[in-house]
Each structure stands twice: as structure tokens, then as C-alpha cells.
Symmetry: C2
Subunit: 387 residues, 2 copies
């Protein structure tokens, strides 16, 4: 028995008026409607949500029961793995189905970040580092350290990073749910200026993902029920790998945990990187996307920039990365991100991605990450033919 | 395939010098040793942890990898359901085994509460209420409302509540890990005094559980491996029921979600309340234990006090409740509590409960609750004969 994704919902990402509860409700109702599932048929709910002090709602799982009166008495559980909390919820939902304890599962990812000012958000996210050694180090600074280590060994990659930012912004123009639907251009991203300052050298503002509100949701059912649904997206692989939290215990030149997650996922699915039609990967910072190119095997170590210069990862390349605009331009409401990635990927493989659609896309990859390569989730999805 | 509990660990509960990481490490290492399991054989880790601002560690799942170098790359996930976060971790760990994605699972529950002063703890726990309607209402006040509603309908139960407090304190004398190993006596609990003030009328200080640091851990394996272990505790039932978060949507005269959880657990196990040899239940406030007597069917609605006056729930009664001392006297490090309850219950059914041991105890019940009957977990455990 395994889970199939049969529907999804997705609020716009951005600075929204909605409360946490309203975001949950909008995404969940849309997912249930898209799947054609009634709330009373939901056996379990999993909520991916980071919080970290961003909102005062400290017990969010049962907030999901506010979606529909018929959800009363449904088991609801919050899961958290920093910026991979959304995928954590997807994976626990899948486990519930594989365990035979649920036939129909509602997965919701949500974050409300703009209730705080930028400093408050930076502080809330900072708690996802190893406090004993890295207390007070912001996430731009964490990834700035990765970038510095990489630049020192392999040379300055600022241009490649600017190309990554520009690519994801260009892609987001075709995503009506993206926070920034604006082609900012390579030159702007590549130039330090008043409007594009260094945030944590060598990372510029355009190297950083956005601060966002938003929610995404999935409905999953057990595969023996899949025939009854309009679509049924299959997990060809789903691999979770956690790494040590302290940066001092990890190699800053490469993403070891992510690389292992990809390798295991390819093995589980019986595919190689060349078989992927596209990937949605965790570009919390452009240096992260570059390191993911290497972790996923698109290039050798130290040569991530080639994925951009060769054009492989562009929308018209062999393996487009972040057709949705990624965290960079779609936005990054941290608890929602992993669920959004699974929804965007499911939409591609079922041909429902609208303007973002890659023609003939059949096999897609999700890579969602908590911290700097600490909680790593790699899924490979395809669409099973049903009715 | 199902999970068996093959070992456990448990720090003392109380005001401890240990950090969150040290608490995790102590309980986890003890559990691995008790089970006779090597860290390298652990397939997945689940961490039950509330946090809510109590400590700055916002990404605690991967802290569990600090327990042993061999845990590197092991999937680790934090789960949260307020004061039932520990049981949430137990249930997700069990799901991972039932899903066939893990053979050996390490479950840890942990909380560090004394890093804050009492006001800070009260505020951190307050976020587990429905903020839109109950923001600023403390948990003693929440349960004070339940007590007031109950007293208004069924008469003043202050004496019964004092008997519950005194019972749990008396039981804790036999628990070397309990925070308060002191028989405070019925008279003290029943008298409002300078040392036992009203915290939220009609609840007195002795009607409230303790503010605690602590951790507990379990090792679970799939049942096909159970023969190789010294002990293997079986889930005869494991039921989760969530209820609406807002108090305005629930009946304050009874615990509806908990009652449903018990009813389903009895059905799943094929037992009735009379078959239970003992129970560890969620006495965050004495009024909660009284309402649980009714939810579990020890008495009819409105007659919970009879369970005390008839002596049923005392250590020498037919169905002893909280032989460990309960949250009231053992302590209540919120994320640890559910794991601790499962560990204490497992110890009883395997005859390893030391001075707390009820002679011949074979079938035990755990009831762990997040909020005021919102996230409800009911487990029924017995010991499978192995070697």
C-alpha cells in the first residue's frame, strides 16, 4: 500500500491579510475540492508549520479542524523540521497511509511571516541554527559562510548566483501564485547597488529568498482507491536524510546530506538524474541552488556554475530547475514550502501547471531542505494513469 | 507488522542543570542501552517537543543526532501536539514501523521549562490555546473554567480534587524519578493557605501540575524482530482523536474527545475499562483527572468523585491511576510527558516498575492530552512473551 496525491490547493504567496487559520482553511478547502474529497472522509491531518515565534499560535494542528465542521475528532498532528516542515508533513501523511491507519490524508503546510518585521523574521529563523555554537548567526550569514568557503576553493561564483536568481525570477512570471512576478534581469542581480545591497557578503539581496505568508495543501489516498480519482500522482521515491545540526560537524564545501538523499532517491526510483524532466529544489539562497546542482549530480563538485552556463537548468534546458520561480521568486513561507513543491511537481506531471507547464513532463523531483543541508527530503514523482 | 517497545530511558524530572541537548542525550542513550540496541541500527528518530518559546532551540529534531556519531544521516522528525507532543512522537514512530519504512525507531520526548521564570512558562503554554478567542487566558484559567462549569452543575468537588492531588503525591514517593517525592497530605491540598493559594479559582496550587525539565525515550522495533529482545511491549490499541481548539466549540462539562479516544481504544483492544490493571492519565490539573475518570468510564458523568471516594483509583484499588505520581507529582515537562507515560506503563506490564510495581499488572492504559481535551491519545499496552 502506498499513497497517491489526488488533489492540491495553494494560496498566493506574498504579504497577505489572512491569518494563519485563514491560510490553512483556504489551501485545505481548495485541495479537498480539487481532489473531489469530502471533509468527512479525511482520516488524518498532518500540518507542516515552523512558527519559531512568528505567530502566537503555538498549537496549530487542531486549527486545521476549523477547515470544516466534519473534521471534528480527526487526528491532526503538527510536524516540524525547520524549512522542510512541509515535506515532513507530506512524509508523515504518506506513512499513515502506508501503515494502513488512514486511507485519506489531508496535508497542509503553512507559515505567516509578515506579522513580524524583517528583523523579527530573521530572529525567528535564526533559532533553526545550533544555538550552542551559532546563536546570533543569521541564515544569510550561514549561507554566506557556505558561499565564502566555496568561492575560496573554486573561485568567485557571483555571476553564476546572479544567473540563478534571474532565472528563477524569469520563471515566476508564469506562476500566478508567485510573490514576485517580475523579471528583474541578470544585470540587476549581478550588481551591488542601493536597491541590491550585500546582505551577508558575498550574498546580495537578490541572492536571498523572500519573506512570505502562504499555505499549500495536498490530499493523498491509498493506491487501492486511486482509480476513482481524476489524477493520482505516485511517489517513485521519498527519502529523508538528516545531518548533524552544528556547522562545525559538516563540510561547508558540499551538501553531504542532500547528496545522500538524492542518491538514495534515484536508487529507490531506479532512475538517474538524466531521467528527470524537471526539479523543484530548495533555493533559500542562490548558493544553496548551486550546491544542490552538485548534490543532485547535474555537475561535478566545484562545477555547479556549469549547470547555468550550459543552460541545462533553464526552462528550455534538459532539466529545468524551479519552473515555479522557486523560493527566490515564488516565495518561501517556510512551513508551506515543501507542500508547495510537491503540489507544483504534481501539477507538472499531470499536465496541470498552466503557463509553467513543461511539455511532456512525466518525471519530477522535489528537494526540500531544513537548515543548511540538515533536514533533507528528496521525492521523485510521476503520474499514474488512472481512469 | 506492528511496533513493540523493547527499551526505555527516563531522566529525573525537576529543575535540572541539563540543557535541552543534554536531556535528549541522557534519555536516548539510556533507552538504547536498556533495549540493547546500537545507535547505528536506528532507522528513524521522532522527537516530541513543545517549545513554544521555552528555549531558543527552534530546530530540535536534528539535535537528537548529537546522541551518537552513528546517528548521522538518520531521518529525524519533530512532532508537536501541545502537551501530547510526546505521544505524537510515539504514534509517528509506530506508524513508521507499520509502514515498513523503519525496523528500529528511537522516540524521544523532551522539554526544558525552568530556563524561564514561572510567568514565562505560563506565557509559553498560553500559546496552546485558541488565540483568536482565548489569547491571554492562562492554562490554570482554562481548567478553572472547566472546574467552575462542573461545580455549578454537579456541586463543589474541591475535596475530591484535593484527594486526587494527595493520591498522586503519595504515589510519587515510590517513583525515584519524580520531581516531588513528598507526601503532602489531603489536609494541605484541601486548604487554601499562603502556601497553597488559589491559582485560578476554584483551583489551588496543589490542583496544578509542576513546571519541569526532563526527557524520556523509547526504542521500538518491528514485531518480527521482537524475539531477540529481553522484553517486547505490545500496542493492544493506539487511538488519536483531535477536537476543535476553541473552547467555545466544546462542552465544558465533559471531555468528549478523550471519551471517544477511550471508547475506540477499548474497542480496538477488545477490552473494557474493568480489564485495565492500571492507567497513567493526564492530570495537568486535578479537575482533568476527575473528568478523565468519567471519559474512561470509571464512573458516570457528574460522578467522577466516586472513583476517589470508592478507592478504585488508589494504588491498592481495582484500577490505580497514576502510580508514577502523574503530572501532579512526577512532573510535567510537556514534550516528555507522553513518552514518559508510555515508558512507565511499559515498565509496569513487564514487571520493571520497582517500588511503583503493581503486582501482576498485565494490561495498562495511557491517556495523554494536549490542551483541554483537544489532542487526545489513548494507548493500551501489554507485554508479549518473547524469549
Amino acid at each position: 500500500m502506498d499513497a497517491r496525491i489526488v488533489g492540491w490547493g495553494h494560496t498566493p504567496f506574498g504579504r497577505l491579510d489572512d491569518t494563519l487559520e485563514e491560510l490553512i482553511t483556504k489551501a485545505a478547502r481548495e485541495a479537498l475540492e480539487h481532489a473531489g474529497v469530502e471533509a468527512r472522509d479525511v482520516d488524518a491531518i498532518y500540518l507542516g508549520h515552523y512558527n519559531g515565534g512568528l505567530v502566537p499560535d503555538g498549537f496549530a494542528a487542531s486549527l486545521a479542524l476549523q477547515v470544516d465542521d466534519d473534521l471534528r475528532f480527526t487526528p491532526a498532528t503538527r510536524v516540524e523540521n525547520a524549512c522542510a516542515s512541509g515535506s515532513a508533513a507530506v512524509y508523515q501523511g504518506r506513512n499513515a497511509i502506508r501503515a494502513g491507519v488512514a486511507k485519506t490524508v489531508l496535508v497542509i503546510g503553512v507559515e505567516k511571516m509578515t506579522a513580524k518585521d524583517t528583523k523579527g523574521v530573521t530572529e525567528a529563523l535564526m533559532t533553526a541554527s545550533y544555538q550552542a555554537e551559532e546563536g546570533g548567526v543569521s541564515f544569510p550569514q550561514v549561507f554566506g559562510r557556505f558561499a565564502n568557503a566555496y568561492f575560496q576553493k573554486y573561485g568567485n561564483q557571483s555571476e553564476a548566483l546572479a544567473h540563478i536568481a534571474a532565472k528563477n525570477h524569469a520563471n515566476a512570471i508564469k506562476n500566478p501564485l508567485a510573490q514576485m512576478q517580475k523579471d528583474v534581469g541578470f544585470e540587476f542581480c549581478n550588481t551591488v547597488s542601493e536597491r541590491n545591497p550585500l546582505v551577508a557578503a558575498p550574498l546580495r539581496l537578490t541572492d536571498c529568498s523572500l519573506i512570505s505568508d502562504g499555505a499549500a495543501a495536498l490530499v493523498m489516498v491509498s493506491d487501492d482507491m486511486a482509480q476513482g480519482f481524476e489524477r493520482a500522482v505516485r511517489f517513485r521515491a521519498g527519502v529523508q536524510v538528516n545531518d548533524f545540526l552544528p556547522m562545525s560537524r559538516r563540510d561547508l564545501l558540499k551538501f553531504e546530506g542532500p547528496a545522500l538523499a538524492f542518491a538514495r532517491a534515484y536508487e529507490e526510483a531506479g532512475v538517474s538524474v538524466g531521467d528527470l524532466d524537471f526539479a523543484e529544489v530548495h533555493d533559500c539562497f542562490t548558493i544553496a541552488e548551486l550546491l544542490v546542482y552538485e548534490a543532485m549530480g547535474l555537475t561535478a563538485q566545484g562545477q555547479g556554475a556549469r549547470a547555468v552556463s550550459d543552460g541545462v537548468v533553464y526552462a528550455d534546458g534538459a532539466t529545468p530547475v524551479n519552473l515555479s520561480g522557486g523560493l527566490k521568486a515564488k516565495g518561501h513561507p517556510v512551513g508551506a514550502t515543501g507542500v508547495s513543491m510537491h503540489a507544483m511537481t504534481a501539477a507538472q506531471v499531470t499536465g496541470e501547471a498552466g503557463l509553467m507547464q513543461k511539455s511532456g513532463a512525466e518525471l519530477g523531483c522535489v528537494f526540500n531542505m531544513g537548515g543548511s543541508g540538515v533536514a533533507n527530503y528528496c521525492s521523485i514523482l510521476d503520474a499514474e494513469k488512472t481512469t
